[in-house]
Amino acid sequence: MKYMLLIYDNAQSREAFFGPDGEALMAEVNAVMKELTESGELVGGEALADPSNTRTVRVLDGVPAVTDGPFVEAKEHLGGYLMVECETPERAADIAVRWPSARFTPLEVRPIMDQSGPEL
């Protein structure tokens, strides 16, 4: 089963990765990434640019509205994602537990919908 790990962050957690502990935190990130790569569980993953770079797009009554900045000033933003393929949901949750940002801001582990259809 494939899972998306949605990695949330906020101003403080982003700063933590650039502060004095940043190097140690990044070393943890790299260790998890190395493990997932070697095990063949890593399907993909990217970090997102700072929320200030966001453009929010809506279509209201057929009229597109594109505005700079996130739609709402949320306390937490989506900061990036990991896509993994794991044997069990417990394993996917375990990866999230070891992602160092989980100490500051939450991750969500969500199964990815499958195009396959079972026998009915």
């Binding site: 089963m1 790569t37 070697e38 095990s39 063949g40 569980e41 890593l42 399907v43 993909g44 393929e85 044997e87 199964p111 990815i112 919908m113 499958d114 195009q115 396959s116 259809g117 079972p118 026998e119 009915l120």
Partner: protein, 413 residues
């Protein structure tokens, strides 16, 4: 460019034989497997242009052996640069490329290779990937496409599996007799999973996965050829054929799922039904009974009914009772309940489902809700059915199934 299909078939058939010869001669499964892949690629490029050589197996063994010695030579050269003892390394006969065509192997190593690739020390994902590459002769890119992951991810699964084989010192032999039955069970399960990956694919960009069913059937057929008296091998092959027979009818062009009862049976493949039904009848008559044979027998009863309403549900119930006795699990119980409902009414089916509420394995599984919804609908409880369909739709991770369950719920609204 796509290789001529006939050559592709030939290469996939020869892949395990060539690999078997190399591993018997040199050991080092991982290096040999890489060398065989390179030889297969070379053949896929050269043969359509230059024609298939007189002894294709000999050609592949020669080319693969050369790749192997090239690889060893470059490793020695690397070590030589690092090591002053390099002068001791001489060009011994192990480095000499074989001359001309190789003798064709007499024994078929397919089974030994399958046992190796489906070794219990490997993760299920690795077992599937390695089986398709080393025994099936598929490229890493083809396997990655079929499993919808990047090629790098699949390459990593294969290389990890090979490292694990090396590290645990798994030899290239048939498992000892006392372990053989259990190990064969793992092999059959891997083949079953490969089949299912392909069979459950629906439409659009995922269609290429259907190649996996053909590959699973081909490999299972090969195992059946090597172990013709094994009832479960025959049972699994029959199950695959009887299931594959319905493929064209099980989805609409837009990918929507069509349940068995509503399928256009004229679109079933009669030759596959006939072959599968004959195979299961023959094996049930002479081999000890097992779960694959029973599942195949159930599939045969379905496939032999001209119309859904002609289905011999009594026989299906009897087969599920046997299956519950020899290999009970919640999914068997769900299917059993549906069959019982068709014979004795929905209330009797619902009664069979009741114990599953306490089963932890079903706590997060949507199928219990889906089956209960179906039986409640048959019993005339529209509201109860709608609620269960909705809950099942929320829980499933299959898009086509979600669409189907939502449609069922809406129709009851």
């Amino acid at each position: 460019m796509r290789t001529d299909a006939r050559i592709e078939d030939l290469l996939r058939r020869l892949a395990p034989q060539v690999l078997g010869v190399l591993v018997r001669r040199h050991g080092q499964f991982d290096a040999c497997e890489d060398a065989v892949q390179e030889a297969l690629l070379a053949a896929a490029l050269q043969w359509p242009e230059e024609g298939v050589p007189e002894s294709p197996t000999g050609w592949l063994i020669t080319v693969a052996s050369r790749r192997l010695t090239d690889q060893w030579r470059s490793e020695h050269a690397r070590r030589a640069r690092e090591d002053t003892a390099a002068s001791l390394v001489t060009r011994d006969e192990a480095f000499a490329p074989p001359a001309g065509d190789e003798p064709v192997p007499e024994e078929d190593d397919t089974l030994t290779l399958l046992f190796l690739c489906c070794h219990p020390a490997l993760s299920p994902a690795s077992q599937l990937a390695l089986t398709l590459r080393a025994v099936g002769g598929l490229t890493t890119a083809e396997i990655a496409r079929a499993f919808l992951v990047p090629e790098g991810t699949m390459a990593q699964r294969i290389s990890r599996a090979k490292q694990r084989i090396k590290a645990t010192g798994i030899g290239f032999d048939l498992p000892p007799e006392p372990e053989r039955a259990e190990r064969l069970r793992v092999v059959l399960h891997v083949l079953y999973l490969i089949f299912n990956e392909g069979y459950t694919a629906t439409a659009g960009p995922h269609l290429q996965r259907s190649e996996l069913t053909a590959e699973a059937i081909r490999l299972t057929r090969a195992v059946h050829g090597l172990l013709p008296d094994d009832g479960e091998v025959a049972g699994l092959l029959a199950l695959m054929l009887l299931t594959e027979a319905r493929r064209a009818a099980r989805t609409r062009p837009d990918g929507a799922l069509v349940p068995l009862a509503e399928q256009n049976r004229d679109r079933w493949t009669a030759e596959l039904v006939d072959e599968g039904a004959a195979l299961v009848a023959d094996t049930l008559a002479r081999a000890p009974i097992g779960p694959y044979q029973l599942q195949a027998a159930i599939a045969a009863v379905h496939d032999e009914a001209r119309r859904a309403e002609d289905t011999d549900w009594r026989q299906i119930v009897a087969l599920y009772e046997l299956l519950e006795r020899i290999s009970s699990n919640p999914i068997v119980t769900l299917n059993h309940a549906v069959a019982v409902a068709m014979v004795h009414g929905p209330e009797a089916g619902l009664e069979l489902l009741a114990p599953l509420d306490a089963d932890e394995r079903m706590a997060t599984n949507h199928r219990l809700d889906a089956v209960r919804a179906h039986l409640l609908e048959l019993a005339g409880d529209r509201e109860g059915a709608r609620e269960r369909y909705r809950r099942a739709a929320r829980r499933t991770t299959s898009l086509p199934e979600q669409r189907y369950l939502e449609a069922k719920a809406s129709r009851l609204g």
